[in-house]
Symmetry: C2
Subunit: 236 residues, 2 copies
Amino acid sequence: MGAMSLPVYVQVKAFIKAHISNGEWKPGDPVPSEAVLMQQFGLSRMTVNRALRELTSEGMVTRVQGSGTYVAELHRISSNLTIRDIQEEVVERGHVHTTRVLLTQAEKAGADVAGSLGLRTGAKVFHSILVHSENGVAIQHEDRYVNPAASPRYLETDFSLTTPTRHLLAEAPLTEASYSIEACLPTAEQATLLNIAPSEACLAMVRRTVSGPHVASLVRLVYPGSRYSFAGRFQA
Amino acid sequence: MGAMSLPVYVQVKAFIKAHISNGEWKPGDPVPSEAVLMQQFGLSRMTVNRALRELTSEGMVTRVQGSGTYVAELHRISSNLTIRDIQEEVVERGHVHTTRVLLTQAEKAGADVAGSLGLRTGAKVFHSILVHSENGVAIQHEDRYVNPAASPRYLETDFSLTTPTRHLLAEAPLTEASYSIEACLPTAEQATLLNIAPSEACLAMVRRTVSGPHVASLVRLVYPGSRYSFAGRFQA
DNA sequence: CAGTGGTCTAGACCACCGA
DNA sequence: CGGTGGTCTAGACCACTGG
């Protein structure tokens, strides 16, 4: 068959979502209490509780202990932007991923890099610069600093075979990351390496990853604006 | 007091997360079954089930019925990028939001706009162009097309008082949205309105929102690269 | 077949809110 | 105080996986 009877808690969720998305229940309005839904659907409390709990984590409703459940204030357009390993992403599109390694070396950290990595100025850091290509077309310039404490073998890695992201995820399990997406113009060198005009706008993602006690890595990824974008989707 | 004893299911989640993030359990490894965790912690099945279910929805583990629970493959850096109403965002920073309305009119849709909105070429659409400022500094150029079927009163709205986003959320409840973030150079007009150099890289967010049966709105938001970025965060 | 997860029940105790 | 949600239990039946 096609759609057999869905789990009951899913039906309860759908019931509530329907009333919200057709505008019948507006932001701030109360949603029927668990007791009412139990009666109305003839379900146990755990089941309607699960439906409401999941709607809460999806941002559709707000629950206040002792008071009630309410339609969430603004349907924020809140989508999961997933940052993926570039190689994985290219391969999944059925394309060929290649890497050009421009630099891998140990350096003394300048004040800004040291600060971001939580090290003293002048401490040893690993530095790598790569260019990633999809079917031979450059799509990402990756300039990365790595904390040796988090990944001692970083420089021994062959980045024509794996990516720094993959290596770091394996060697330094991720506990936290923060990023920002900006627009910028490429440096002269980046423009040359990416084979774009110096005046072409680029996307830059700056990312800082934490692994356990260490700040593991600080990376700036520059994408030609004409060849890359971040896309996302939101479903009510 | 400070931190009293947390709910048991939270403790189970923490137990599993700890083993994953210190690298003891690697991607693909099996996580103890519900039965084992019940014994080990002396809990009922519903409780450990909840812990594992939530870890699943957080992307930490994968569950396969009949087989078992496994550590998720790649800790994708998957963060919630929330797209907010610009006015709300500015006000929350304690700053002053102002809007300059450059255009609000009905037009005949060109082929591309009509296609995106699911209308025939030449159908009536509403078109608005605004510039949003924070403390008097222009930060966003908003060029929007609206489907009259989704928001018949769109043109009657005073956008110096509210924002198109707020108006549409109220009048056409959101059911779906998709967006992409790109880098671009401003048009000559945009550069003038935003008071930036024509060569300054900008972020552009293109967003398409669906409300029930209608595509409600198609908008292109252009931000000066020097004044705006999208930031996010990921917590394991 | 035994073991797994997916769902559901009918209770229970508690903390909290608002009248 | 009654109504609310937050948590938890000790069962249950089912569908699926794997050997």
